[in-house]
């Protein structure tokens, strides 16, 4: 109702002002993709009258009916237009290909050729044709230098890094900016990476037993609203966004109303069916039991849950539920747990544009089921964008997005206590349907409420996925109002106020009888994040001589970010059948996080000099004032400088071979501040004292009032070539980035009274190479084939930590067998584990190295590559994306656990016993003691070096086959498109057994390179139907 009212208001607003420009011809200039072209020149033929378009591609000019307007823009074909009465032109310039325009920092559209740094842009079609629930995942393989790692399941976040990890303990993930507004990517309070032991705080997912990986910011953006995405890769490109942009920026531009005066209606429906892309390979010869024999008696309490029993020969044997049953293999028991997840995404958009402005409204409904029953995601996204041209000089641009989402039964899937583990480790003779009876019918006593599973204190996957409850509700409002005023044809200014308000409510209930929390427990968490930005930008664009053009920008921004939250946790339900707080016997002291505010004020300026369409020089300067730093340090400045030169006219003036030869170089620096309350030492009152007494303790971290911002500096060189009538394009970039003064909790001697000192230390470098190669292989009227190839490699090195600290442990697996570390001379995410020492104990068991002391690899891949293709034949089109990740290692704790449980196909080896080749430490001589397969695999599974795999994999990531349906005037259908799409179809090759090497335990830095019972990677097959009326 409210929304309707708002819509009506907007429409009224727009119509009221639609009749102003009587004697003035006005219009909007866009490129073929609908991106507005600023600075295009409009002149009246045979006169001195001329103007240029403003930042939103708009212009107005005095002209008489019958006059001819010439619209020109560098890199685009000129267009002539005859002025008619009441003219309001929507002018689309056709690019002559080399002069691509991209959206850069602060939303400024720039000719790509004028940039001295690397920016990649992809269109909305690239991310909304084959939809993933998280927009971030749709970027995989499409941009050189961008790495996406997934974690968790439906509604979960992803880790987004550009050009490697820059920060040791801080955030290394890219900033997400939507229509110029940075959006908050914070996870619920307390879910700050879960790295309690190490002090690291890179956002995203806990490495504990049950990682709950929040959705993050980008997951809330509706792919259908995306017009284009620019990836600003290095500090040079992103310096104007300030502190948070040191890790690069994903700049999302959403759609505005476009097209003609006519009301455009687009209806899109996507239906996908998801299924597991692959599952681990299980053995089907041996059943539940131990020591090579079936289990004997459940009531004895010595029931083994592993598949180290006897041969599955169909004999009658005791079954976990107390009955006796045929001891036979159930080859599909894991597969049959999963159902087909149907995802259905429907969006409707209405748009209209006129001289008076434009409006676009869209609504998207996402109703998605997962491959596990009861796990569902439902979201509604309302988006309203209205641009009103209030006068020839004054434009108001407003946007309001409301997003509401509920995800049920997402958590508790992964990690040691997740249900995937309990499912995979299920004995090979257990029928999955039997496990559907996970609790006694009509339980009476507390013990009768206990979970029924195939082993003691082992969760039942049905109980965990369907009986326990978990829901996360997200509500998000994003909006802004922007006023643009064009003082003169060369001076333009805008001011904008925007807000991003996110509310997250997270409920989790373990029901009484749960295998781990026997009396049941419940947690309820509420977090709110608000980010307000007020900004202005003044732009002057002046053509000094016919060769020298100068654009100068001066701007300022006030950013206020706040977070607050509350956590309630309790256990022991009074009445075991209802689940709410008041029904808990024990309610732990509530945890309140009062509103924490961070303010950053900034002023910035940029100058772009263009000389003779061949030499471009950009300089930017920004000064931030951060409330999180002390008075002496809070003001910090950083600069960027870049240069590009178009050399074709010297090399190949006739364009016989080269259509574009461009070289570029840039130097930039970005500062990175910290969180609130990091300066002054305080004491915390524990929620509950001891014996009713108030107790106090020091914080383990000694704060530092002299904390400085981290500094990322980057040097980048690039070359761009376009050849053979622009049929082949090549863009090569090399960069060298260094981060110094890393804000880090340095472990200190306990004698200081602290465990860590927060200091600025160290130096981390990232060096890399990015290549983008594009080719038009076929370009016929009826048949075309475009292909592009992306390659990026990055080498990360921890150059220096601090004297006396050679390495830092991010995280240790729960079994202590593997550590993720940063070591001086190594790189962030080095994996250390145990290897077989070549010795056995007296009993013949293989011995592993004492602790996780051996370097086994690194979590970061050596290179990433993507190959995308679009082939069009008449109305048919075929697109596919193949991408590869090469190098980098991952520890598959999944595989170790499957071997230990005796369910993996690998564990069929040595069932008859093995004499381990090595020195027996009992005798000192060669080992002669024979051990059983059970003993062998139990011991080997503790030696993590056996389970570190290369992340190498090549997969058919995306495939779509489309057909454009011709116009059907009778029903008002302008155009329509039907597509058959698929995602994660198959692997061409993969090194790791059992796991998808890109599915990590979480999105925080400390769990990269670790995979433990991740939800199966989904293979999606779907149908898209798009209709434009």
């Amino acid at each position: 109702m409210k929304l309707n009212l708002l819509l009506t208001l907007y429409l009224t607003f727009v119509t009221t002002f639609s009749l102003i420009a009587q004697n003035i011809v006005a219009g909007t200039i866009t490129d073929e993709d609908g991106v507005f072209l600023p600075g295009a020149s409009i002149t009246v033929l045979d006169s001195n009258v001329g103007t240029i378009s403003d930042f939103d591609g708009k212009f107005s000019i005095q002209a008489n009916t019958g006059d001819t307007l010439i619209v020109s823009y560098v890199g685009y074909t000129n267009q002539e237009i005859v002025v008619s009465e009441n003219s309001n032109f929507q002018i689309t310039l056709r690019s002559n290909l080399l002069d691509e325009v991209v959206v850069t920092a602060l939303g400024i559209s720039r000719e790509k050729k004028s940039l001295g740094y690397s920016v990649s842009e992809i269109s909305g079609d690239n991310v909304n044709t084959i939809k993933d629930n998280n927009l971030a995942n749709s970027l995989t393989g499409k941009v050189a230098g961008l790495q996406i790692s997934t974690a968790g399941s439906l509604g979960s976040g992803s880790r987004i890094t550009i050009r490697g990890n820059n920060s040791l303990g801080g955030n290394s993930q890219a900033l997400i900016v939507v229509d110029g507004m940075p959006i908050n990517s914070s996870l619920p309070l307390g879910n700050d990476g879960g790295q309690r032991e190490s002090g690291a705080n890179d956002s995203g997912g806990s490495p504990s037993f049950e990682p709950s990986i929040g959705g993050g910011g980008i997951a809330d953006i509706n792919p259908d609203d995306v017009e284009s995405i620019s990836v600003l890769k290095g500090p040079a490109a992103s310096a104007l966004y300030g502190s948070r942009a040191g890790n690069g920026v994903i700049l999302i531009t959403t759609k505005k109303g476009s097209g003609s005066d006519r009301l455009g209606v687009t209806l899109k429906t996507n239906v996908y069916a998801d299924s597991p892309m692959f599952l681990p390979v299980f053995q089907n010869q041996y059943g539940q039991g131990m020591l090579g024999a079936p289990n004997l008696d459940r009531s004895a309490g010595t029931w083994a849950s592993t598949s180290w029993g006897g041969l599955l020969n169909g004999s009658q044997q005791p079954y976990y539920d107390g009955t006796t049953k045929a001891y036979s293999a159930q080859p599909n028991n894991v597969k049959d747990f999963f159902t087909s997840g149907i995802r259905s995404i429907t969006s409707l958009s209405v748009d209209k544009a006129s001289q008076a402005g434009s409006i676009r409204f869209s609504y998207t409904n996402n109703s998605s089921g997962a491959i596990v029953d009861k796990s569902k995601l439902n979201s509604h996204n309302f988006n309203l964008r209205a641009v009103a041209n209030l006068s020839e000089k004054l434009t108001v641009d407003t946007k309001a997005t409301y997003f509401t989402q509920i995800v049920n039964q997402r958590a508790s899937t992964t990690g040691a206590q997740g249900y995937i583990g309990n499912l995979y480790k299920m004995p090979r003779n257990v029928g999955i349907d039997d496990l559907r009876d996970y609790q006694m019918e009509n339980p009476g006593t507390p013990s009768e409420f206990a979970v029924i599973s195939y082993g003691n204190q082992i969760g039942n996957p049905f109980w965990q996925s369907q009986h326990d409850e978990n829901s996360v509700r997200r509500n998000r409002f994003l909006g802004y109002a922007k006023i643009n005023y064009e003082f003169t044809d060369w001076l333009n200014a805008f001011a904008r106020v925007g807000a991003d308000v996110t509310n997250i409510r997270d409920n989790a209930i373990y029901k009484p009888g749960h295998h781990f929390q026997t009396t049941g427990s419940m947690s309820l968490q509420e977090s709110q994040f608000v980010e307000l930005n007020s900004e202005f930008l003044v732009t002057a664009n002046h053509q000094f001589t016919d060769k020298l053009n100068v654009i100068a920008n001066v701007g300022g921004n006030l950013s206020k970010r706040s977070s607050e939250g509350m956590l309630l946790f309790g256990s022991d339900f009074k009445i075991p059948t209802k689940f709410f707080l008041a029904n808990l016997n024990l309610l732990a002291a509530p945890v309140e996080s009062p509103m924490a505010i961070k303010k950053v004020n900034s002023v910035y300026g940029a100058v772009n000099l263009a000389y003779d369409d061949f030499l471009y020089l950009d300089g930017s300067i920004r000064n931030d004032y951060s409330s999180t730093l002390s008075e002496d340090n809070r003001s910090y400045m950083y600069n960027s400088l870049s240069l590009s030169a178009i050399l074709n006219r010297f090399i190949d003036p006739e364009q016989k071979f080269f259509n574009l030869v461009k070289v570029r170089a840039s130097l930039a620096e970005v500062g990175n501040d910290t969180d609130p309350y990091q300066l002054v030492q305080t004491y915390n009152v524990p929620g509950q004292g001891y014996l009713g007494l108030t107790t106090l303790r020091n914080s383990p971290v000694k704060l530092n009032s002299n904390l400085k911002p981290e500094t990322v500096t980057s040097t980048e060189f690039g070359i761009e070539l376009s050849m053979l009538q622009n049929k082949i394009t090549l863009d090569v970039t090399v960069y060298d980035m260094e981060t110094k003064d890393l804000i880090f909790d340095v472990p200190v001697p306990a004698a200081t009274g602290f465990l860590f000192n927060r200091e600025n230390i160290g130096l981390v470098s990232n060096k890399g190479l990015e290549i983008a190669l594009g080719a038009t292989l076929i370009d016929k009227a009826n048949l075309s084939w475009n292909t592009s190839l992306f390659y990026s490699s990055n080498e990360n090195k921890v150059e220096k930590l601090i004297d006396g600290l050679e390495s830092f442990v991010y995280n240790t697996t729960t079994d202590g067998n593997l550590q993720v570390k940063a070591t001086e001379g190594g790189s962030i995410g080095d994996l250390y584990g145990r290897v077989f020492t070549g010795e056995t104990d007296a009993g013949g068991l293989p011995l592993g190295s004492a602790g996780p002391t051996e370097l086994l690899g690194n979590a970061q891949p050596d290179f990433l590559a993507g190959w995308s293709n679009t082939i069009k034949y008449k109305d048919l089109s075929l697109s596919f994306l193949i991408d590869a990740r090469v190098g980098g290692q991952v520890y598959s704790q999944t595989s170790a656990d499957l071997d230990r449980a005796g369910v993996s196909e690998r564990s069929l080896q040595y069932r008859d016993g093995i004499v381990v080749n090595g020195t027996n430490t009992g005798t000192g001589a060669a080992n002669t003691v024979k051990i059983s397969g059970e003993e062998y695999w139990t011991a080997m599974s503790e030696i993590s070096g056996n389970y570190v795999y290369d992340q190498d994999n090549i997969r058919l990531r995306e495939l779509s086959i489309g057909y454009s349906i011709p116009k059907v005037s009778s029903i008002g259908l302008n155009s329509a498109n039907i597509q058959l799409v698929g995602r994660n179809l198959f692997f061409f090759s993969k090194s790791a057994d059992d796991i998808d090497p890109e599915a990590m335990l979480g999105t925080s830095i400390g769990v990269q390179g670790m995979s433990h019972f991740a939800m199966p990677t989904l293979r999606s097959l779907g149908l898209n139907l798009t209709m434009n009326f």
Binding site: N601, G692, P749, A750, G753, L845
Partner: protein
């Protein structure tokens, strides 16, 4: 004109942006935290006691329950239907006996090494020049420091000590045990001297009363505790290579006055809610996770039974009993071991003093074994360190659980057994030991008897005639026999304090049945690096290899390999 106004407004806006940092300091002050002005020393006193004596689930579970409690020979996890559960593979008969960095790091090393920062910040606050300077509080801190370092060094051996209190030394060297013990004694002497005849600590709002959970602020009791600790360390160091202080320290401690009538016990907080972040009890480990239970050991039960000790029924519960059917394996590796395993079950029952056909019945067929015993009647201890191979035979119902007061969970309002820091019983036993060793004069048996009375009093009982008539009832026999009795009684008096119990066994070799070794992997496991030897120490935390590599390696080359079988300086 209009443009100029706009430009003017624009400039004003710009100026505002630049100058508007007035509230920056204010918003960066955390509203829910206290500054140095809000605090008093007494609040910290509770913290340093609680953190060491009633820690969270992690040190209690991964530390005490898994390691020292089992190594002391008083409790046993393992295959009796009781496997604690992070993951079903983790908690088994080998657990604790096979090195696991996760449990050792989190449960013992991180906790103990990390405690230094709490303690040091306390000592810095109340010490000379500190924000909360107070001599008595400082003395209390020194005594806690002595107790802490005793625990720390007796668990790991060489540890950072002399340099660990110097904030300027980032990478402290590791000191040998002799140096640590000497340092503790020096600290205790300083504390004893500071306390003198004072009875109270602090003044006004800061007077220490109930915030001292151990002695309610009675500084004379703290002085006695210091003397008891000094005596304990002197006796433990006695006879160690290169030590020259124990004789003096023993006589000083005894003459200055040990804890003769008061026990240094730390109350459990029955209403504790935050067992992971605050503090916890054994019962929280026992009850909060299904099957996360342990048993009393064969060693403990049989020692109590042999001397008709009245504490038997107070420390342990009778076995559940009833009809217990054990099915013999018909396939797999277990078939060959049936005879050995059945024999072991039989000997376990017989060794515990049960009489066949009186206390239990035994029916064995080719397929199975049925044992019947009256319900909740027999006391039978579980053998330690059971091999996974015998898992199917050691039925939970045959063995005794610890008493309810030990396994009482928090938050049910019921009393919890306190944490034992130091007892008057131990003081008397130690004086008896000193006399037997010729380090003090007097009648050893008198002190032994006093010790027995005090030790039983903790369990609200007294020595019975039957007990006093047993061999354990009086300090008779050869010197070695006397030392064995004293050690055994000290070990019993420290029941639930696994760290001290384990130290007594390693120091004296008694009780012999608590020295857990194995030479038959089919019954008692010798998996892992220990190869069946006794657990002598825990390995250092893995973090030290990255944070202080040079010094830890120096310690290893002096002390021996960083494994669990390397004997410590004081050990027999």
């Amino acid at each position: 004109m209009k443009n100029r106004i706009l430009i003017l407004y624009g400039s004003l806006f710009l100026a505002t942006v630049l100058s508007c940092t007035d509230d920056f300091d204010e918003i960066n002050i955390q509203p829910d935290a206290l500054s140095a002005d809000d605090i008093s020393a007494k609040f910290f006193a509770t913290n340093i006691q609680q953190k060491l004596l009633r820690p969270t689930m992690v040190p209690l579970w991964f530390g005490d329950v898994i390691h020292p409690d089992q190594f002391s020979g008083q409790t046993a996890n393992g295959y009796s239907g009781h496997s604690l559960g992070l993951d079903d593979h983790a908690w088994n008969g080998d657990l604790g006996w096979v090195y696991n960095s996760f449990y050792t790091d989190l449960g013992s090393w991180d906790w103990l090494a990390g405690y230094n920062s709490d303690l040091t910040s306390y000592l810095n606050n109340v010490g000379e020049g500190g924000t909360l300077e107070d001599e008595m509080y400082f003395a209390l801190g020194l005594i806690m420091k002595g107790y802490y370092y005793q625990l720390f060094t007796e668990t790991f051996g060489m540890i950072p000590y002399t340099e660990a209190s110097d904030p300027d030394i980032k990478l402290p060297k590791y000191d040998d045990q002799l140096t640590v013990y000497k340092g503790i004694i020096a600290d205790l002497d300083q504390a004893i001297e500071i306390i003198g005849n004072n009875t109270e600590a602090g003044s006004g709002f800061g007077v220490l009363r109930e915030n001292d959970v151990i002695f309610k602020g009675n500084m004379q009791n703290w002085k006695q505790a210091a003397n008891s600790l000094k005596l304990r360390i002197a006796l433990r160091a006695h006879g160690g290579a290169g030590e020259d202080f124990s004789t003096t320290a023993v006589s000083e401690a005894i003459s200055s006055g040990v804890l003769a009538d008061t026990d240094a016990l730390f109350e459990g907080y029955a209403d504790e809610k935050d067992i992971w972040g605050g503090s916890s009890s054994y019962g929280d480990v026992w009850h909060n996770f299904s099957n996360s239970q342990w048993k009393t050991t064969e060693a403990l039960i049989n020692i109590l039974k042999t001397s008709a000790d009245p504490r038997l029924t107070l420390m342990a519960k009778p076995a559940v009993g009833g009809t217990i059917k054990i099915t013999k394996p018909t396939a797999g590796d277990g078939v060959a071991l049936i005879a050995d395993h059945v024999a072991f079950v039989k000997s376990t029952l017989d060794d515990s003093g049960l009489v066949l056909d009186t206390d239990y019945t035994w029916v064995e067929t080719a397929a199975d074994l049925t044992i019947t015993m009256p319900e909740n009647t027999n006391y039978v201890g579980l053998p330690s360190r059971l091999s996974p191979k015998i898992k199917g035979y050691m039925h939970a119902k045959m063995f005794s659980d610890p008493a309810d007061i030990i396994t009482q969970k928090t938050n049910e309002g019921k009393p919890l057994f306190p944490t034992i820091l130091m007892t008057s019983a131990d003081s008397h036993f130690m004086i008896a030991e000193a006399i037997v060793k010729g380090l003090a004069t007097g009648d050893a048996n008198t002190y032994y008897q006093l010790g027995l009375e005090k030790a039983m009093a903790i369990w609200n009982t007294a020595p019975t005639t039957e007990f006093l008539e047993s061999t354990m009832g009086s300090l008779t026999g050869t010197m070695e026999e006397k030392l064995e009795k004293i050690a055994t009684q000290r070990w019993l008096a420290n029941y639930t304090n696994g760290y001290e119990g384990w130290a007594i066994v390693r120091d004296t070799g008694y009780p012999a049945s608590a020295v857990i070794t194995s030479d038959n992997n089919d019954i008692i496991s010798f998996a892992g690096e220990m190869n069946g030897k006794q657990a002598q120490r825990l390995r250092y935390g893995t973090s030290v290899y990255s944070s202080n590599n040079t010094n830890v390696n120096a310690a290893i080359s002096a002390q021996g390999p960083d494994n669990m079988t390397t004997k410590l300086w004081f050990a027999k």
